[in-house]
C-alpha cells in the first residue's frame, strides 16, 4: 500500500498518487513489445499507401462521406454491415475466451488505457526520474525545477494526446491531405471537434485518471470476477511458500539463506515491498487476488529480480490458478484449457471466423433487390391482359463502372417490358432503380405464377444471378 502521500482533509477521497518504480523482466518486455507493436500499427497505418483506380490511395480509410470503407483490397459498403456485427461478436467471444484462460491479460497488456498510461508513466519517469526522485518532486513546493519537470511532462503528454487524436481522425480522411488542411485551418469542423475532444480525453484518462479508469469507470473490471474460474491463470502470491509458519521476514542477519529461513519457520518473502512499488494499480498482491489487479505481471518481474539476487528460486509471485495453489503440492503452472466453456468459446470463434472469411471471399460484385409493386398488385388492361410491375434496384459493388442486362426465363417473348432500360449502366458504388412490367394474356396468366429474372453484369458474365419472381392475377389473393 502506498503510504505517506495521502491528503486527509478533503470533502471526498482524492486520488492518492501512485508513483511506480520501473522494473526489468520477462513480463515488462512483453508489455513493451505489445506497446511498440500497437503504437506502430495505430500511428503508422493511416500513412500506408494503396493504389486504387477510383478512390483515395490510403490502405485503411473509413470514407464516411462516400459511404464506403476501404480496407486494403476490400471495399465495404453499408449493405455489408453484417460483417461488422460479426467482427464485434468475434471480438467479444475472443475476449471471453482469453479471460477464461488467462484472466485479465487484456487489461494488463493490450487495453488502450493500459498502453497509453504505461507510455505516459514512461515519459514521466524519463523527465522526472525514478521513484524516489518523483516522490521528492511531489512533496516539493512549486519552484523552478518542479515547474520545468512537471510542466514539461504535461506538455509532452498533451502533445502525445494530440497526435493520438489526430491519428484517429486520419483514419477517416486521406492522411497527407487531411494533415496539411488541418494545420492550415481548412479541415472539416468535425475533424477539429474530434481531435479536440480526443486530446482532452486521452490526456485526462492516461495522464490524470490513470488507474482510476480501471478501478471506477471500466465495467470490465467489475464483471471479470464472474468470468474467472478456479482454473483461470491469474497473478497469485504463493502465500504458503512466502509466509511459512511464522510469516514473512526481512533478510536480516541469520535469515539470508533458504535453510536458515525455513528452519526458523519463515517463508521466502523478504518483505522488500518491491511488488507494491511497481504496481500501477497501487495494490499489494500479497493480500491476495483483488478486483483492482489488472494482471500486468510487473510484480512478478519485481519479485523474480529480488529472488535472483538472493539466489532463491523464482516464482514466489507467478501466473497460476487458484485450484493449483490449493493443492497440497502445487504442480507447475499450466494453461487449463480442457474446460467446457473454453472449448465452447474456441469452437464458436473458429466457426464465426471461418464464416466471416467465407462471406467476404464469396461476396457478389453487385446487390440486387426485386420488389413487386403492390399498389396495385396487378392491372387488367383494355384487352383483358394482366400486367404486374416490379422495381429492380441494382447496386454496383464491383469497383468499376458496369453495364447490367436484365432478362426473364419462363415467360413468352415480349412479355417482359423494361422500357428504355433493358441494359442499364451503373457507376461503381452507385445504384439504379429499373421498373419492369410483365404482361400476360388471361390464358397464360392462369398458368404462370412464378418466373425467373436473370441479371448479368456484361463485363463479368460469370456473376450472373437469378431471382425468382411472383406473378399475381385476379383471384390469387383471396
Amino acid at each position: 500500500m502506498q503510504t505517506g502521500l495521502e491528503e486527509q482533509l478533503g470533502l471526498y477521497q482524492k486520488r492518492i498518487p501512485i508513483v511506480t518504480r520501473s522494473v526489468k523482466g520477462r513480463f515488462r518486455r512483453l508489455k513493451t513489445a505489445v506497446l511498440v507493436l500497437a503504437y506502430a500499427i495505430f500511428f503508422l497505418l493511416p500513412w500506408l499507401p494503396w493504389s486504387r483506380l477510383d478512390a483515395p490511395g490510403q490502405a485503411v480509410l473509413f470514407d464516411l462521406p462516400a459511404r464506403h470503407f476501404l480496407i486494403f483490397g476490400l471495399t465495404v459498403y453499408p449493405q455489408d454491415v453484417v460483417w461488422l456485427a460479426l467482427l464485434l461478436f468475434i471480438a467479444a467471444i475472443l475476449l471471453f475466451f482469453v479471460t477464461g484462460l488467462v484472466g485479465r491479460a487484456f487489461c494488463g497488456y493490450f487495453c488502450f488505457q493500459t498502453v497509453w498510461t504505461d507510455f505516459f508513466i514512461w515519459i514521466e519517469a524519463r523527465l522526472q526520474g525514478e521513484r524516489p526522485a518523483r516522490i521528492r518532486l511531489v512533496r516539493q513546493p512549486w519552484d523552478r525545477e518542479k515547474i520545468l519537470k512537471v510542466g514539461g511532462t504535461h506538455v509532452l503528454w498533451v502533445l502525445v494526446s494530440f497526435w493520438t487524436a489526430l491519428s484517429f481522425v486520419l483514419y477517416f480522411g486521406y492522411a497527407p491531405d487531411l494533415v496539411v488542411r488541418f494545420f492550415q485551418g481548412e479541415a472539416a469542423g468535425a475533424a477539429y471537434l474530434t481531435v479536440g475532444i480526443l486530446t482532452v480525453l486521452t490526456y485526462a484518462a492516461a495522464g490524470l485518471m490513470r488507474e482510476q479508469v480501471c478501478t471506477y469507470v471500466c465495467p470490465y473490471g467489475r464483471f471479470q470476477s464472474a468470468m474467472y474460474e478456479p482454473t483461470t491463470l491469474a497473478v497469485h502470491y504463493d502465500a504458503r511458500r512466502g509466509e511459512g509458519a511464522h510469516g514473512r521476514a526481512s533478510a536480516r542477519a541469520g535469515l539470508r539463506t533458504l535453510e536458515a529461513r525455513h528452519a526458523q519457520g519463515h517463508g521466502d518473502c523478504v518483505d522488500c515491498n518491491l511488488c507494491v512499488q511497481v504496481c500501477p494499480a497501487g495494490i499489494d498482491i500479497r493480500d491476495g487476488l483483488q478486483y483492482k489487479c489488472i494482471s500486468c505481471g510487473l510484480c512478478i518481474d519485481a519479485c523474480n529480480t529480488i529472488m535472483d539476487s538472493f539466489n532463491f528460486p523464482r516464482g514466489l509471485i507467478r501466473y497460476d490458478s487458484e485450484a493449483n495453489l490449493a493443492l497440497a503440492t502445487p504442480d507447475k503452472p499450466r494453461l487449463h484449457w480442457k474446460r467446457l466453456n473454453i472449448i465452447g468459446y474456441g469452437i464458436a470463434l473458429v466457426l464465426m471466423t471461418v464464416y466471416l472469411g467465407y462471406s467476404i471471399v464469396t461476396r457478389s460484385s453487385f446487390d440486387r433487390a426485386v420488389t413487386q409493386i403492390r399498389q396495385p398488385l396487378y392491372v387488367v388492361l383494355s384487352n383483358g391482359d394482366i400486367r404486374n410491375r416490379y422495381q429492380i434496384r441494382l447496386t454496383n459493388k464491383s469497383g468499376r463502372d458496369m453495364r447490367y442486362q436484365i432478362d426473364a426465363t419462363g415467360l413468352p417473348d415480349g412479355a417482359l417490358d423494361l422500357g428504355n432500360f433493358r441494359q442499364v449502366s451503373i457507376k461503381t458504388g452507385h445504384s439504379a432503380l429499373v421498373q419492369a412490367s410483365v404482361r400476360l394474356s388471361p390464358a397464360l396468366a392462369a398458368r404462370i405464377s412464378t418466373f425467373n429474372l436473370s441479371i448479368t453484369p456484361l463485363e463479368l458474365p460469370g456473376e450472373r444471378r437469378m431471382e425468382a419472381i411472383r406473378f399475381d392475377k385476379p383471384g390469387t389473393q383471396k
Binding site: 500500500m1 492518492i16 399498389q375 396495385p376 392491372v379 387488367v380 388492361l381 383494355s382 428504355n420 432500360f421
Partner: protein
Amino acid sequence: MSEQKLQSQTVQTTGHAWDGDLQEYNNPLPVWWVYSFYACVVFSLVYWIIYPSWPVGKSFLSGISNVTYVNDKGETVSHHWNTRAVLMADMNRAAAEQKPYFDKVSSMSYQAIAKDPEMNGFILSAGKALFADNCAACHQAGGQGVLGFFPNLTDDDWLYGGSFETIHTTITGGRRAYMPAFGEVLSAAEIDQLANYVASLSAIEHDAVKAQAGNALFHSDTAACFYCHGADAKGRREIGAPNLTDKIWLWADVPKVDDAPAKVAAIRKVINGGLNKGVMPAWGERLTPEQIKVLTVYVHELGGGQ
C-alpha cells in the same frame, strides 16, 4: 474507497441537535458535482438570452437569435428563433439542393427524361413524393384509383389521352366528367336495350334481341350516343368520352359483380342517372411547372403511358 485510516472515521454531523439527541449527518456534495451544477446554471442564463424564454405581460422575451428564410411569396423574412422559421429555412436549403434536378427537368424534353437513367431515378423518387402528397388522396398510393370515383392511372385506357402532352393538360387544367342523365329523355325499355348493346361490345352476356335494338338506338339521333362515344363506340378523347368496347370500367360497377344480369343493370344505372360527379382539380395554380412536369412523366411511367 479509502484504504487508509482517516483521523476521524465517523462522518461529521451538522452540529445541531433536535429533541435533545437527534442529530443529522453532514455529507457534503462532491466538488465536481457542485461545479457541474453551477455550470448548468450559467448555461441556462446564456440559453435564456439567446432563445425565446420568459413570458412578460402579454408577450415574451424572444431572445437575440434570429432565423432568416425565404417565404412562399419569395420575400426574405427574418424572425426571432422559432421552430417554424427553422423549418422554413431547412426547406429553403432542401429546395436549393433539389433545384439543379428540377432545372434539368424543365430544360429536357419528355422523351429525353424518360431515357436518361439518372433523371429516371429522380422522377421515380421526386414523383413518388409529389404523387403521394397531391394525387394519392384520390388516385390511391399506386395510382390504381377507386372504381366509381377516380380513374386507374396504371392501365392503358385513357379518357382524355395518355400522351405526355395530354397528361400535362389534365394535371394543369383539371377535368370535369359529364354525361347527361338519359332517364329523363328515354324510356326504361330503351335504356335496357342500350345497356344490352353496350354489354355486347365488351363480351358480356346479354340479350341479343335487345342489343340489336340498342345498336340502332345508339346510332340514332334520339339517343345520339355516337355523338360523344363515336360511331365505333371507341370513345372520343377530345371530350373525355370513354371507350365502351374495352374491359376497363370506371363508372359502372361491372367488375365488382359476378353475374351478367347484374353487370347489365350496372350499365343501365349509369345511362339512366348520368354522371356529374367526376372532378379532377386544376393543379396549375398549386404546383410549379417543374413539379407538374415531374408528375407528368411519373404518371406516364406508371405503366399505361402512350
